[in-house]
């Protein structure tokens, strides 16, 4: 027996003392003590106070807690009774995906218990042991200020964020994110919090080979183990061919995988799934499976994949569901056709050529680039290489599924509930009405949860065993068996004249999609489609080729392909300005697009179809560039006072989209409840960004009713209506606009009903705060309560419910510019990002404080991609740094000293209340801004990620 005090209550546990303290706390119901790193002691999700000191509860044995006093994050305050610290974290906007928010609240509480007036350094020190991927750390400093002020004077003094649209009450105002109290207090929120007691565990046997046939899987010993329920292999499972990308149907990604394949294509590929009563039994059984592999030669880079005679990653056969070429039979005759290979099925042609490891391709352009280069006064040409990067959400991929009422219920941490439902339907053969996907709160997505990476197998396991099944990726699996950023080789040729005008741009992009083609075309496509339209240039050409290889898989990642294209183009433009001897800023101002400029280049850049040629819409690009240049004092040379440290400045223009016009689709249903409050059923998938809050806020301003009288139910395929999901920066624009349509429709119904009840004309009715209809003619007033009460009486006209659907051809593009000032040590190669300014036009920022945090979070993440993060593979394709410590994410100590996010006020005509997207674009600027600043500092061009000290010293000629 172990006795200790937990949150002031004496407790005794009959537990093996060699278990971790965290396991004991879970037994006690303290589930907000979470695990993000398999007890590596990195992320801090498992932080508790042990005798008054913060410790990782995974690194303390239960036996060592004997007689100790333990405080857990869920002890601070519940969602109805928040503490000053919890409330300040919410108000500062940092409670986003929030997997670590309770632990952060505990650390901040501990800090203030030691010292009511901590310095910035002390805040930094206390947060140095907690990993925050979503919001960055800047507003934690703000929260600390707010806490200090509140404790000292009872109120906040510091401005949290600028506010917009004074005529509106909710939109554009600083206001707590509606799910934040639940998240910060550590209440039930994530998939792991909803698991039933009789749940089985599933683990996956993964390939040790990068490329091999799986000729035989002997599961007899494993199945003989007590507790083992089922071992699923390629030889006893569904034969459906599909892919993992959560994209609109039909997808612009080849269907090229099954649940389990008879050929493994990367180290970590699925070989078998083991379902057992306990995790321990499942792991034990996994070790007893005997697999007969037939290893094959592998390819890891685009260079290897494109080489003559390269081993083929897919060598089965090709099918088309539409647009098959006439010579398909002849083409297929050149492939091995081996049954173990499976097949590659294109929904429509993506110019793939698997005989040459090409998953997809696209070529196009406008004007005549060759002529443009001839006419140029200078031409630069260089290749920019990006690395393989993992999303590292704090909550690794997880799925819980069970049968209930004859249906398959799936608790998913996903960006795409409806796509999950469709793919599970394909795999199980169940019709979609038999499948219920419940998106819980999501502990970090960043694109990785746009892929259906675990839900297919988990749901299938429940389908075949009839048992509730939990699957949860280990951190290592999150690296090697998930999706990652596509490594890309971006070759840019750019010509310009002495007056700074760009005559022509050519981009040749060779992308590495890994073993499967999820997002194969569209991610690399974004490297052109979300970059070339920044330029007023008549001659542009691109050649995109996407290769299959045997690396860990690539997929969607915040920014999609755009950060890579932006890196290449903005670096090349800086190189061109340098060669022409003109100022980079002048060149930017000379060539950037402005409102009304017709974007002919978009014609060839649809998602596998013809793109929409549209003019540039609302555009705060120039203002962003000028504002940022002013802030960073562009053109002024800075000296460090130490001859080894050289200082330089750089910046990059950025853009993204706001969803995919003509492809994305969102729906909502607004209901007037019996007391006059509102429930909105939305198809949206809020992944921590504040999308539910956006839906509540737009509804509030349309229906003139306070936000706390509105509840948003979203991400649930039963209660909502279809929504393509949270990706491609579509949330605010599509799901937000669908809520606008639904709320407007409900408003019209309410007005109509009020007119009916008052016996007056509809035209005389108007909605007024707080939730009333007022007759302009008679002055009579009916509250929403009165209206719905009458309409739902036995003689009324019924419940007031309004659907809203949103599709569009409009393309509302967010713009911006990111600025960096770096110090480079020319002796050690170290780079310090001294200043980083993210200046963005996001249209109307509906949640301004959350918007700023997303800009900080995405900027810090992309600073990490630029300087540190890199998945390193050995010669056999094994990732050697598949853990948090070795991989290299930035934390609070990597934050720029002077970090600012600035919102440019632009009102977009098509966005909900003028809003455009905000977060994804903020991943695009860091690499070229920092790369250009490094050149400005010490004269070297950093043409590959990450820009490490070693590479810088090599470029400087200091080491070989």
């Amino acid at each position: 027996m172990i006795s200790c005090t937990i949150n002031g209550k004496k407790r005794s546990f009959d537990i093996d003392p060699t278990k971790r303290l965290r396991e004991m706390l879970l037994m006690n119901g303290n589930f907000a003590v979470r695990d993000s790193d398999d007890a590596e002691g990195f992320c801090g999700s498992d932080t508790v106070l042990l005798d008054g000191t913060p410790v990782f509860s995974n690194l303390v044995l239960a036996g060592e807690a004997e007689g100790c006093e333990i405080i857990t994050p869920d002890s601070l305050g519940d969602s109805m009774h928040l503490t000053v610290v919890q409330q300040a974290l919410i108000d500062a906007g940092v409670v986003q995906s929030a997997y670590n928010a309770p632990a952060a609240a505990l650390l901040m509480t501990w800090l203030f218990s030691q010292n009511p007036d901590p310095s910035r350094e002390e805040v930094k020190d206390v947060l140095s042991g907690i990993f925050i991927r979503d919001a960055g750390y800047e507003h934690y400093y703000l929260a600390a200020e707010l806490i200090k002020e509140k404790l000292a004077t009872g109120e906040y003094k510091t401005e949290i964020a600028p506010e917009f649209r004074p005529e509106l009450k909710a939109v554009g105002k600083v206001m707590p994110k509606i799910d934040a109290p639940q998240l910060v207090s550590g209440e039930r929120a994530f998939v792991e919090d909803y698991v039933d007691d009789d749940t089985c565990y599933m683990v996956v046997l993964r390939s040790p080979y990068a490329h091999a046939y799986v000729n035989k899987v002997d599961t007899s010993k494993a199945e003989a183990l007590p507790g083992v329920i089922k071992v699923i292999t390629a030889y006893n499972c569904s034969d459906a061919t599909y892919m993992s990308a959560g994209q609109g149907n039909p997808e612009p990604s080849p269907h090229d995988r099954k649940l389990l394949n008879k050929k493994v294509r990367h180290v970590g590929d699925r070989v078998a799934a083991i379902v057992a009563e306990t995790l321990e039994e499942a792991i034990k059984a996994r070790d007893l499976i005997e697999v007969e592999y037939e290893p094959l030669e592998a390819v890891f880079t685009v260079e290897e994949a494109m080489a003559e005679g390269a081993p083929l990653v897919h060598n089965g056969k090709v099918q088309y569901n539409a647009g098959a070429p006439d010579d398909l039979d002849e083409y297929n005759s050149k492939l091995s056709g081996d049954e173990r290979e499976g097949k590659v099925v294109y929904q429509f042609p993506l110019h793939g050529d698997i005989l040459h490891n090409v998953a997809a391709a696209n070529h196009g352009g406008i004007g005549d680039v060759d002529k443009a280069f001839e006419e140029a006064d200078a031409v630069v040409e260089a290749t920019y290489q990006t690395s393989q990067i993992q999303h590292t959400p704090l909550e690794t991929h997880i799925c819980f599924s069970k049968l209930e009422n004859g249906r398959l219920i799936i608790y998913a941490s996903t960006q795409v509930p409806y796509h999950v439902r469709r793919i599970v339907s394909w795999v199980t053969g169940l019709s979609e009405n038999k499948i219920h996907v419940i998106k819980t709160r999501v502990g970090g997505g960043y694109g990785s949860k746009q892929d259906i990476l675990v839900e297919d197998l988990t749901a299938y396991a429940t389908f075949v065993t009839g048992r509730p099944v939990l699957y949860h990726n280990t951190r290592e699996e999150e690296f090697i068996a998930n999706s990652t950023r596509h490594p890309m080789r971006v070759h840019v040729k750019m010509g310009g004249k002495k007056d700074g005008s760009i005559t022509g741009i050519y981009m040749k992009v060779d992308a590495n999609t890994g073993p499967y083609g999820n997002h194969a075309l569209t991610v690399p496509m974004n490297s052109c489609s979300k970059t070339l339209p920044l330029f007023k240039c008549d001659n542009m050409k691109y050649d995109l080729t996407i290769y299959y290889t045997n690396t860990p898989p690539a997929g969607a990642y915040q920014g999609y392909g755009t950060p890579k294209g932006t890196y290449g183009l903005m670096m090349a433009m800086c190189e061109l300005a340098d060669k022409l001897g003109i100022d980079y800023k002048d060149m930017v101002l000379k060539n950037h697009v402005e409102e009304g400029y017709m974007l002919e280049i978009l014609k060839g850049l649809g998602e596998g179809r013809e793109g929409n040629v549209v003019p540039v819409g609302s555009c705060g690009l120039r203002e962003a560039v000028e504002k940022g240049c002013e802030m960073i004092e562009w053109g002024k040379r800075e000296e460090s006072g130490d001859p080894d440290w050289k200082i330089g400045k750089g910046f990059a223009m950025i853009m993204q989209g706001s969803g995919l016009p003509g492809l994305d689709h969102a729906n909502a249903v607004a209901k007037l409840e019996m007391d006059g409050s509102i429930i909105v059923l939305s198809g949206a998938a809020d992944i921590g960004t504040g999308l539910d809050t956006i839906i509540a806020k737009v509804t509030s301003d349309i229906l003139c009713i306070p936000v706390d009288k509105i509840t948003v139910i979203s991400g649930d395929t039963d209660s909502g209506a279809f929504d393509t999901g949270s990706y491609a920066s579509s949330g605010t624009f599509f799901s937000g606009n669908a809520a606008v349509v639904a709320a407007t429709n409900l408003k019209n119904k309410i007005l109509d009903e009020a007119a009916y009840q008052l016996g007056e004309e509809l035209d005389d009715m108007e909605i007024t705060w707080p939730g009333e209809v007022h007759s302009k003619k008679t002055g009579k007033v009916l509250s929403f309560y009165e209206i719905i009460h009458t309409s739902t009486s036995g003689t009324g006209r019924g419940h007031l419910i309004a659907p809203g659907s949103f599709t569009t051809a409009a393309s509302s593009v967010p713009y911006g510019a990111h600025f960096a000032q770096v110090a480079v040590n020319v002796k050690t190669g170290e780079v310090k990002v001294q200043k980083f300014y993210a200046v963005q036009d996001a249209g109307t920022p509906i949640n301004p404080e959350a918007a700023l945090c997303q800009m900080y979070g995405a900027s810090l993440k992309s600073i990490g991609h630029t300087l540190y993060e890199d998945m390193i593979l050995d010669k056999d394709g094994r990732c050697v740094n598949a853990n948090m410590t070795d991989y290299g994410v930035p934390m609070i100590s990597e934050q720029p000293d002077d970090f600012k996010a600035v919102l440019i006020d632009v009102n977009d005509p098509d966005g909900p209340f003028g809003a455009k997207s905000i977060s994804e674009i903020a991943c695009n600027g860091a690499a070229p801004a920092i790369g250009n600043a490094i050149h400005d500092a010490c004269g070297v061009w950093m043409r590959s990620w990450p820009m490490t000290p070693e590479k810088i010293l090599r470029e400087l000629g200091k080491i070989k």
Partner: protein
């Protein structure tokens, strides 16, 4: 989930020794920040553990009767950083261990664990090497003291005999008296990162502050175990403080160190950085000692 066969809780040093004699395969568990991570990685699967974490007698910093600074092996990193004796005599050690992890690790990680794991990248290692620390081990035969340079045998192997535990780390007065030092951790980032190379230098200057009386330089990750650059030290001892000597000293470290290529960093980078760090750490040590570099 940890694969641990058994956990024995020691109630005293003698009790710990007894437990280790009874369970010769057992591993000592102090704060746990290293050992438990290793067990998780499967490197010590099925291990028996003897926990000494409750032995408060092994915590704290004091000056003993021989005027050694005595650091109990279970003293945590955060304790060392805040300890007034450390701050007064060997502040560089407090700075070095403050670079380990975040507050959760610094509260629980111990100086004893940081040396007993035999890891060359340990943040305390190069400083303890550079200050000629003495490792005190207590075992069935009693207490023995081992100079730290002999304590490290090879990568991840240290001189601990069966049933012995490390009970203290001593810094003799001769070692700390009038000495001033500086530690530089060179890593790819600050966030909970492992040192690419660590360099710790300390100096004792002549009374007129013009001459190096004694210079010591220790490295982590410049060889499989923490090491000293004795050739460079020998060159500088007794020499005048000037630019030329400092530069020559820094270049000479290459004769003693032996870094290797790894995916974290190449040998060329580590060599280059070792030289740069030697010079920087030396200059800062001179400054702390009140010396001035003659141009």
């Amino acid at each position: 989930m940890y694969d641990i066969k058994a956990l024995y809780e020691a109630e005293s040093v003698q009790d710990a020794i007894r437990l280790l004699q009874e369970h010769p395969e057992a591993q000592i568990l102090a704060g746990g920040s290293d050992v438990l991570v290793q067990i998780r990685e499967g490197r010590r699967a099925g291990v028996e553990l003897v926990s000494i974490y409750m032995l408060d007698e092994l915590r704290g910093v004091s000056i003993d009767e021989e005027e050694n600074i005595r650091i109990g092996s279970l003293t945590s990193f955060s304790h060392i950083t805040k300890d007034p004796i450390i701050q007064k005599y060997i502040n560089v050690l407090g700075e070095a261990v403050d670079m380990v992890g975040g507050p959760q690790i610094r509260a629980i990680g111990t100086i004893g664990g940081n040396t007993c794991n035999g890891v060359t990248s340990a943040d305390s290692a190069s400083t303890l090497m550079a200050w000629d620390a003495i490792i005190e081990l207590t075992g069935p035969e009693g207490v023995r003291r081992v100079p730290i340079k002999d304590f490290y045998i090879k990568a991840k192997v240290v001189d601990i005999r069966p049933a012995e535990i490390q009970t203290a780390i001593l810094i003799p007065k001769e070692s700390y008296d009038r000495c001033f030092g500086h530690y530089i951790k060179y890593s790819m980032r600050n966030a909970l990162d492992i040192a690419t190379t660590g360099c710790s230098v300390n100096v004792r200057l002549s009374d007129d502050k013009k001459t190096f009386e004694r210079v010591r330089i220790g490295y982590g990750v410049a060889a499989p175990i923490p090491c000293r650059a004795y050739t460079a030290e020998a060159f500088l001892n007794g020499k005048e403080i000037n630019d030329e000597n400092i530069k020559k000293f820094a270049e000479t470290v290459l004769e003693d160190i032996n870094p290797r290529d790894s995916w974290r960093a190449g040998k060329a980078l580590r060599q280059h950085i070792s030289v740069v760090m030697a010079e920087r750490a030396l200059r800062e040590s001179i400054r702390l000692a009140g010396g001035v570099v003659n141009e």
